[in-house]
Amino acid sequence: MTAPVEPVGLSRDEMARRAAQDIADGAYVNLGIGMPEKIAQYIPAGREIVLHTENGLLGMGPSPSPGNGDPELINAGKRQVTAMPGASYFHHADSFAMIRGGHLDLCVLGALEVAANGDLANWSTGDEGAIPAVGGAMDLVSGVKAVYVMTSHCTRDGRPKLVESCTYPLTGIGVVDRIYTDLAIIAVTVRGFEVVELSPSITFSYVAERTDAPLMDSRTEIENQ
């Protein structure tokens, strides 16, 4: 006789690996600081993805080997990186011209909350004592062709991050296209949240219970297409 096992979703690395599979060969991509950065490690063999970092580098490569870093070659998270063959450096206004002008194919960002209409909140909890800091998030969501969110499905204390409407200050209105969580891949469409893939051992109702907005099951549609 065993106690019921609580289903376990994807780990952060598994989420990154899964998201990486959906990035097309040749895409120009900005990966947000934190969890989304991991995606770079899991680009499938044979695909060439060009990474953009908003502090002025297109063609960002992995961290330098020990002792080979340059403190003036860093990413948006201010960690040392490298430059790939075919890279280019440019100034900040040119970098955000790329972003705002719709030249990047995809950005993947973290989230505090995503609403069913695609609103994103990811820059401020609005707390009294917090130092407000926005960085490039508002520019990315307003300019990049596709905006994916990569996040745990719920907060550490179990509160759903996918909600009917955001309670935190917004980063952008109606900007999110797709959400990769530990539990599922969810498209944000005119109809709201639609599950397009469940993580192994996760059921639709398990996700729906942890989502604070109506959730549609679009898996069959997808599979039948």
Binding site: G26, G86, S88, A93, F96, A97
Partner: protein
């Protein structure tokens, strides 16, 4: 693997359709992508709006495109040139439209289009007839004119060196409008005198990052407009 090379100038203009807006790099003959313009003549698309600082000279390149009846409207700052009657004749006959824009406003509108800036306030032209009908607002006690970003369906660009990713460097004052036009068009095609593999260009000296470029055609010995005009050449 990212490889934006194509063997054919025809491919480079294949996305164009009737009624398209086409930005063409160059200031006079410097930076004029003659071979790509001639491919656009071969393509035959009509009803085009063309953005270029001038209107070409002789009966080659941009002037030939206009003469071939493919251009309904020019957006430029200086439609006169020493060696062309093509545009002036059509303009006087009322057969081609002209949107005259101060040169700096033209460059800035193209940059704005490429940078996702919908519109901007500039002091240039305030109080002149080129501001007629436009919103004017005072900033710091000076009148400024509201000008709108300009985008295009296709940009045709001449570069000195391109790599397979589309990273570009230019030759001297042939750079002119090319970098901002590459940004402002949905599809940017480049003719490059030299093609190199990614990594051959120093990332510090790239002028146009490859993200702004869709296709690159190798044109090893590009024709120079003044030579063609001096020889009385015409196209097609």
């Amino acid at each position: 693997m990212i490889d934006k090379r194509t063997a054919s100038a025809a491919d480079a203009v294949a996305t164009v359709g009737d009624g398209a807006t086409v930005m063409i790099g160059g200031f006079g003959e410097a930076g004029s992508p003659i071979e790509l313009i001639h491919a656009l003549i071969d393509n035959g698309a009509r009803g085009l709006t063309v953005v270029n600082n001038n209107t070409g000279s002789g009966e080659v390149g941009l002037a030939a495109l206009i003469k071939n009846g493919q251009v309904d409207k020019m957006i430029c700052s200086y439609p006169r040139s020493a060696n062309s009657t093509v545009f002036p004749d059509l303009y006087r006959a009322g057969e081609i439209e002209l949107e005259l824009v101060p040169q700096g406003t033209l460059a800035e509108r193209i940059r704005a289009g490429g940078a996702g800036i919908a519109a901007f306030f500039t002091p240039t032209g305030a109080g002149t007839e080129l501001a007629n009908g436009k919103e004017v607002r005072d900033f710091g006690g000076r009148p400024h004119v509201l000008e709108h970003g300009l985008t295009a369906d296709l940009a045709l660009i001449k570069a000195q060196v391109a790599d397979w990713h589309g990273n570009l460097v230019f030759n001297k004052t042939a750079r002119n409008f090319a970098p901002v036009m590459a940004m402002a068009a949905k599809h940017t095609s480049v003719q490059a005198t030299t093609l190199v593999t990614p990594g051959a260009l120093d990332p510090e000296v790239v002028v146009t990052p490859g993200i702004f470029v869709d296709l690159v055609v190798h044109v090893e010995t590009p024709a120079q407009e003044s030579d063609l005009v001096a020889n009385g050449a015409s196209y097609p």
